[in-house]
């Protein structure tokens, strides 16, 4: 869906900084475990600690995330996508 965007990358390889989550490609339990903690399309997240597992900051909560799961998460730099097509799509009016 967002394939036209060139700046989209995978969270597993990202550096510290703010990103917007574009897509979560996990399935089953892994998808639920990620999304219910707020790692889902349209949300902004900050990578605060690199490594495996890595540390994310989502709003007020801190989340430890293994690299394996971070591979499912595609991201774009936060500024580039606000307000972008994906963000619009995922948000409710």
């Amino acid at each position: 869906m967002a394939s036209v965007q060139t700046s989209i990358s995978v969270l597993a390889g990202a550096r510290k900084g703010f990103y917007q989550c574009v897509d979560v490609d996990a399935s089953g339990q892994n998808a639920i475990r990620l999304k219910r903690l707020g790692i889902c399309a349209g949300r902004v997240l900050e990578l605060v600690g690199q490594g495996d597992p890595m540390v994310l900051q989502l709003g007020n909560s801190r989340i430890g995330l293994s690299r394996q799961l971070a591979n499912f998460v595609s991201i774009a730099p936060a500024e580039a996508l606000l307000p972008g097509p994906v963000a619009q799509d995922a948000l409710c009016s």
């Binding site: 339990q29 639920i32 475990r33 903690l37 430890g64 293994s66 799961l69």
Partner: protein, 718 residues
């Protein structure tokens, strides 16, 4: 691979159950919320010490429930209307889309899909949210609100939100959420009266609320529904909260350290060593006290119990009444109901006890009941200290960091990082460790953790470690402590390598990768830690008072009967007990299995110890003391060690060579000798299959380990 224990809902066996209608019972109020928002604290604050852990039918999860009196706030307290409700503390859940068996229980309770009292939706729901993290915790609230149940939102941790300088506009929040919103602090006891009143209002039978229909935040939204909920929660929060930042930033540097790969592991190691140091340095005194109290009780019983039953009027009522009283106590502890069966068992045993020869009756009371209980209760201080410290650590938010840094290490053997907390608990006792494994969401990971936990050194192994180290290096504390540490390390290594082997064989697959919330650091609450410790102590004593008491009595019977004829008794009193033991069932079994254990360097007397410690490993020390002709008391003073050193085989060489001693130690590190643990494994995995498997693989491991140790050491000439 098997599936998790089934929580039966709507199965055929269910429909056979009588469905109790709740109309005539108290209204049910559920405490719902994300993990770690303070549901249990709020539950304790509301219910005080009246809380009771209940096991709802068909569920393997303990739901805590309590009867709670709620009332309308009225100036005149005499005509105040009151209402009793049943308050239930549910396991935390992030979403109604669940990812663990416990979350599933919570979600089903909310939907009223369980059997028994929770077979219909609750009369009211209290959604607990975290004032310091409203946007995150409101996400679940949005899902609950859409269920259109009578709902109250309790905004907990208001004290720490205020300490941060966060300001919340509750009127705006009420309007947005369209339900009562009450600021509370479970820790400081604030807002409890208002919460009670709100519960009262919602559970009034005459006030049947109109069908509630709240708008859905995901209605008409095509994107990810989670994302929509998060967005909604963000919007609500933005419109009602002015976030403070006081007291938040200072700990960022600490977190950077504690979650960094190298320093984090180092810190974890330091914390664990600190915990063990506390256990060993603080538990000694209370353990001595408990031992001497039981010693005094034993002596008192020795004096007080009649030595002959000629006075039948006094003796029989005493024996029967005493036994019945003990049964009453055990049933009460175990929450067994008096019915036809349980009463007949109690009466039958009481009559049997009454017709025992007087000497046997005395020995049953002193050795079986008092001695058996003492052997277990003595571990209570260590367990209490461990849980106190663990609860403080959990409260502070550190444990999640521990799981975080352990993730990389544990993954290699197919365990999740979260297994680290149960593994720490298991160093006091496997049972609470297995229960702590419930925090592991994934069923496969939880199963592997449960299976390997009993390999870790629990406190019941310590008497054996103490005995063997004293036997080998009694005069060399340095080498003794190295051996001691080696035994611990062997347990840890065995647990990790077993997990690895399980991953490669019968429980294949990788551990579910980590995604874990790292909660904000909080100052731990002493009260909470004390309450949890008390809870654990009660659970433990309940075990000791029932299952372990039963085991001790059965063992006593096996080691006492059949009686040796008077004519065959040796003259020497010291030898009599040993001769009798040899004659008993336990002794005969020891002789029969001697060839099996001979390759490990054990003689039949040690085998008797192995047999009697099958159900509770700590029994081996007192058994050895009996087999080697010391009587019960011998175990206490240093007599046992000296006696063991003097033992010789028929050919004159000592029995307890270095090789035999080490082999015995290895066996006790690795063997599954704890019936209560097996019972808990069965309960938590839902089948005896896994308990049996656990027993089998640990026994094989123990046998193999001891065999290697003994054969290698003898070959090396020790």
């Amino acid at each position: 691979m098997s599936s998790p224990p089934q929580i039966s809902v709507g199965s055929s066996s269910d429909s056979a159950l009588p469905v109790v209608s709740r109309t005539d019972a108290f209204p049910v109020v559920l405490l719902v919320g994300n993990p770690n928002v303070g549901k249990t604290s709020l539950f304790n604050a509301l219910a005080g010490m009246r809380a009771k852990v209940a096991n709802y039918p068909g569920i393997t999860v303990d739901l805590r429930k309590a009867s709670l009196h709620v009332s309308a706030v009225d100036a005149d307290s005499r005509c105040q209307a009151t209402q009793t409700v049943e308050l239930v503390d549910l396991p935390g859940l992030y979403s109604m889309q669940t990812a663990s068996p416990e979350e599933d229980v919570a979600a089903r309770s909310i939907r009223g899909e369980l059997t028994g009292r929770l077979h219909e939706p609750p009369n009211a729901v209290v959604v607990v949210v975290d004032a310091t993290n409203l946007s995150r915790t409101l996400v679940l609230a949005s899902e609950i609100l859409e269920l259109n149940l009578p709902t109250i939102v309790a905004v907990n941790l208001i004290d720490s939100a205020e300490a941060n300088g966060t300001q919340i506009d509750f009127d705006a929040l009420r309007q947005k959420l369209d339900c009562p919103v009450i600021p509370v602090s479970a820790r400081k006891g604030r807002g409890l009266a208002e919460l009670r009143e709100a519960i009262y209002e919602l559970t009034q039978p005459e006030q049947k609320p109109l069908p509630i229909s709240r708008g859905s935040c995901v209605a008409g939204c095509q994107g990810c529904p989670f994302s929509a909920r998060f967005q909604w929660a963000d919007d609500v929060t933005n419109q009602s909260v002015r976030q403070g930042t006081r007291g938040q930033v200072q700990l960022a540097w600490l977190d950077r350290w504690l979650t960094s790969p190298a320093l984090g592991l180092f810190a974890l190691l330091a914390v664990m060593l600190g915990v063990f140091f506390l256990i060993f340095s603080l538990a000694g005194l209370p353990m001595d006290v408990i031992e001497s109290v039981f010693g005094m009780v034993g002596e008192w019983a020795d004096q007080a119990l009649p030595t002959d039953n000629s006075n039948a009027v006094l003796y029989y009522p005493l024996a029967i009444g005493g036994t019945l009283a003990l049964f009453a106590l055990a049933y009460w502890l175990n929450e067994t109901k008096w019915n036809k069966w349980s009463a007949s068992i109690a009466v039958a045993v009481a009559l049997l006890v009454a017709v025992l020869p007087v000497d046997d009756f005395r020995s049953l009371v002193i050795d079986g009941v008092i001695g058996g209980t003492a052997g277990v209760v003595v571990f209570l201080p260590q367990i209490c200290i461990l849980f106190f410290v663990i609860t403080l650590l959990e409260d502070s938010g550190y444990m999640a960091r521990g799981a975080f840094v352990m993730e990389r290490v544990m993954r290699r053997v197919g365990l999740p990082g979260k297994a680290f907390v149960p593994m720490l608990s298991a160093h006091a006792c496997a049972i609470p460790g297995i229960m702590a494994a419930r925090t592991i969401e994934n069923w496969r990971d939880r199963l592997v953790t449960i299976l390997v936990l009993p390999l870790l050194t629990c406190s019941a192994r310590l008497p054996v470690y103490v005995m063997v180290t004293a036997l080998l290096f009694g005069d060399d504390p340095m080498r003794a402590s190295v051996l001691f540490a080696a035994a611990y390390l062997l347990g840890i290594t065995a647990a990790l390598s077993s997990a690895f082997l399980l991953k490669k064989t019968i429980v294949p697959g990788e551990a579910a990768p980590l995604v874990l919330e790292l909660p904000n650091y909080r100052l731990p609450s002493l009260r909470n830690a004390l309450l949890t410790t008390l809870d654990r102590a009660i659970v433990f004593l309940r075990q000791a008072g029932t299952i372990i008491l039963l085991i001790s009595v059965v063992l006593w019977g096996l080691a006492t009967y059949p009686k040796m004829p008077e004519s065959e008794m040796p003259a020497d009193e010291m030898q009599q007990a040993a001769a009798q033991l040899e004659y008993s069932i336990a002794g005969r079994v020891g002789k029969v299995i001697e060839p099996v254990f001979a390759p490990l360097g054990f003689d039949w007397k040690i085998d008797v110890g192995i047999v009697t410690s099958f159900a509770a490993r700590e029994v081996v020390v007192s058994t050895l003391s009996i087999v080697y002709g010391l009587g019960e008391e011998g175990a206490e003073d240093g007599g046992l060690i000296e006696t063991l050193r003097r033992q010789t085989k028929p050919d004159g060489t000592p029995v307890f060579t270095t090789a035999t001693s080490i082999s015995l130690l290895v066996f006790f590190v690795l063997a599954m000798q704890c019936l209560p643990t097996q019972v808990v494994t069965k309960r938590e995995t839902g089948s005896w299959k896994w308990a049996g498997f656990q027993f089998g693989f640990m026994t094989l491991l123990a046998y193999g380990g001891s065999l290697i140790a003994y054969q290698t050491l003898t070959a090396m000439g020790y």
